[in-house]
Subunit: 240 residues, 6 copies
């Protein structure tokens, strides 16, 4: 169900019977010394592909670049400024609308994209009231959070920690370097403060927020993937 592999003629036929589309967006952003910088878009792309395969809903190409300014002090982070990401999402949503898509599930792999996505949705929906947009962010889903809690307890961490490491072990093991995971103890302290790139790096010197992801394995990753896909399928199928 890759839109990229369908021609305009086939997509036109699809639009005669359906108006849904999946749009995976992520980021190219540091995820610790042990994970490839593509984590966020690779996960989003995979979740979207699986949802598409099960629901026969078209999947747009992934937007591999997101808003990652906070991580720019780590090599390999390639970030769009908030307004650039917002403009790109606006343009893509407007294109989708023009062809007849009316329900867009944005499968977002990166929390930092949320403000730009909200801004873009606000602008485009005011232009086209018939356009409906949902954001699906796997790690915010209560069912996923529960699953992670059960597996990891208080040890879970956040950015680049156990849950993302487990997910990558399941879907892209060649993007995981386990030998670079050192035992460490750096609990996330929520200060309510926005972090500049330098402050972020000072707080999290190896880029991982929370404990070292020593307990992440591919089995847990597989569970996260399956649960995410199941939730996404539900969203897509029950969206009327």
């Amino acid at each position: 169900m890759q839109l990229a592999k369908q021609s305009w003629a086939q997509i036109g036929e699809y639009l005669a019977r359906d108006d849904r589309v999946l749009l995976p967006i992520g980021a190219t952003e540091q995820h610790g010394p042990h994970l490839g910088v593509g984590v966020d878009y690779l996960i989003a792309e995979r979740i979207a592909a699986e949802i598409g395969a099960r629901t026969r809903v078209l999947v747009a190409p992934p937007l591999a670049y997101g808003m990652s300014q906070q991580h720019l002090e780590f090599a390999g982070t390639l970030s769009l400024r908030p307004q650039t990401l917002g403009a790109a999402l606006q343009d893509i949503l407007q294109s989708l609308y023009r062809h007849g898509f009316r329900r867009v599930l944005v499968v977002n792999g990166h929390g930092g994209n949320a403000p730009a996505l909200a801004s873009a949705a606000t602008i485009v929906q005011d232009q086209f009231p018939a356009l409906r947009i949902k954001a699906f962010q796997w790690w915010l889903e209560p069912a996923i959070a529960k699953l992670v809690d059960e597996a990891l307890g208080a040890q879970q961490g956040t950015h680049a920690s156990n849950h993302e490491t487990a997910f990558m072990r399941a879907i892209a093991p060649d993007g995981v370097q386990p030998e670079r995971i050192a035992p460490r103890d750096a609990p996330v302290v929520a200060t309510g403060e926005f972090d500049s790139p330098t402050r972020f790096r000072a707080k999290y010197p190896d880029g991982v927020m929370g404990l070292a992801p020593l307990r992440a394995d591919a089995a847990l990753g597989q569970k996260l993937l399956e649960a995410s896909v199941a939730l996404g399928v539900q969203l897509v199928e029950q969206w009327s």
Copy 2:
């Protein structure tokens, strides 16, 4: 050599010994009734991947969306406006520079991206004179043009015609629907006129510019790929 699979720590090590990077950009844009809309980014991504594999130069994730306004009357075309694409490229180039990359080969799969790329390069290079940027566009290379001439003679067409069809047959046969290729005769007439989406569709009702791609086969596509990669490898290796 996928940057997406390397962690910041690994990329930092790479930057200690090299300052080159490949950036594949393409489009999600109609390519006739017979080719998937991802042609331009799938080709760019593949060429870049092969160059990276042979030269050990890192390959950034593909930018799958480009400037395709002209094609918006065909379903599935998802276009960034020129200024959005320019801003995205600026942001990515600035991020690359920040980490220490100094030579960026943009492997561009889509001619419509050229103005925005030129604009972005202009802006960013004025900020950072040490940043060097080259564009590699396979179909504009004399060696490729010659190869296409020899294989197809006067029958080659341009957009979505024989050369792109051949390329897709070689790298993504599941993105080609041969049964939708009808014999037809619609020579490209260069009028020097910029085409609006409606005018473009009126001139090229099935989205193919030039003759029907009846003579495109995977063997030719393989040759195009190999020649493109060889040229790209040369560019990267001889760039001092």
Copy 3:
């Protein structure tokens, strides 16, 4: 501690001994048939004024306009587009930095401002790493949520419902028209969908999200104000 009433000479003296400032931002946005459209900025302005009075920290003038596109189908909503609000916040934060302010507590009265605030903070902090910015949003504070829970149980609603009505009864009773509050039952159903102005109005025809604010009284509002101020004071005093 109103910055508006201090001259540049006085502010200069303040900056020689302190680098903190409070920035109240809100919105001019419908809040049901019974509350004045200024709710969000009136509350933010009041909380900030009280925090300033107790901590001797300067309070900038309120930004009375926020991002309220979703509510534009209701008369009196005056909204800044997301990028406009982001630009305004950037400019104000840059001005503050230029004078020597280094810790800015943004007292935000309106959830819809959060994306633009995050975007602005991202941009400005990358320019000025020494600038520290916190957002204080009273209704998101666990202590406030608990207080509301205890007082209202499951009846609390969200936008323009009991908690905001109570707050307004306490701080601006002339901005409350109790006779326009009708008993009704319109539970908020979170669909994960971004709402266009027309869709929002269709879902919440009188602009209140949740149950009618029949149980909101000034005493509860006073408690909310006091708790909010106490939390804000703590944030400001313990910010090192």
Copy 4:
């Protein structure tokens, strides 16, 4: 007649019988060592409130931030760039139009806002020809100028000088520090040159343009207020 205290339902009723609105805009900008930086918005807010009270025309919340780049070398000046202020005014004017307002009297307290206001009006009126916008700037009114001439003769000065000081003594005496007014003699010399922040500060080291405001008293300020309100009332009532 504060719009902020009226609900959407009340504003809707108002719009059924009237289409006028007052929009006070000002600045947060140095006004000498003796006046609070809020002068411009406090005066605009007060004039607008009085006009509203006498004419029963709604008064929108004040925009407390304006274009004050020239004054950024003085602590406490918080400035919007010209294009940001223009965008904010555009958004507010578009919101007003959407609800049915057709005649907007912008009560502008700050000369530096005039270019952005003209730009915004130009753009929005081209979109909505039925929208009518007037700017009321008290100090430019011939009647006010005459009144100031009679009271102060050649001693009046301009920015932060006698007339603004008098006005503040009348409406916000706690925003005036008389002990900081030193006798001095710094006549304004019009050079036709645009002033950068540093050049402005070099020319007017204490931020006052013209003579020290030694002759400003609350009685004069009261007269200025009354005359301004009377003129504004006339504008609003005779606007057909």
Copy 5:
């Protein structure tokens, strides 16, 4: 002294001894049924050329397009939006600064350009405090106003009326169609209202503001030119 005719080598030599430049800007905008739409830039270009000839100060090419939104209901008006004109002026001023120009006299032939010019000067001077910019607008000079008063008394009108007609008769008689000047009586009534294009046309159906320019002759135009040039020369020579 046309910069356009000097090579970079010559301009470099000039900059070794002088840092002044004249920048003529105007508009392409209707000026009644009897004057060519280039009035504003033709006058500015001519005044600047004469000042340059007498002072040996370089004259940049004219910017023939200005902010003329208000006149767009008349054929031939080609207008830049305010923000576009502001950006163009910013770019030109930044370029001038980069080469070493430090004193720029903007010879502005069109009142509608003033807001964008003020905005651009504000931005660029904050970047480059050493850059000094003056605006010279001939019709606002007291000496010119006096000269017009003496010649025309109460009959002078404003836009496209006697003074501009006289000027054009002197400098570009082929841009004047006297046979299209009809006796009429349409006094300018200042309402303080910003005019939309349609409202402007309704008020001034033939595009002339004020009385028909029946008394404008080339002799008066020659006097206006000479007086303007003399004033400009003075500004340039006495600018230290």
Copy 6:
């Protein structure tokens, strides 16, 4: 046929019988030590004027400023950023459309303008499908290239070399300083690399790309002008 010399009334009459217009655009950009920086707009203006004279098609005022960032290290280059030029062209094209022009021949004298022109055309044509835009760039025309080949053989160079020098000798000999042309040998080496201003200057220290323009004379320039005009006339007359 100068639009600048025609009044709105005359232009309205023209539009009743024709919908074509010529828009000359150029640049203010270094062209070697021997040519005035106005080369690109002076040539475009002249070609357009001649085409207009022969076809009776209106000629808009020249846009004398273009995108010349690459040349900013040479004194006198005054450049618009790409997005500014794009915005200016958009505004002018939209104005033209509003009055009824439907076929716009952009006579472009400067290759660096092409990306911004393509971007502007893309945007405006998507708004107004009936608007038709052609770019005429004399040096890209095969007939001109052939003429240059015949006259100069392999010695032609590109920027500021023989062809532009010859053109200027024919149309603006006072903008040519032959004594500054030194014999030299600096062949253009196409590297495919975008040049920053500093890199450009390092590669072409005197600003000329290619051999010294020792063989350029006015007779060749006259031929280039005539051939360009003939081609332009053809384009305009055969445009249906």
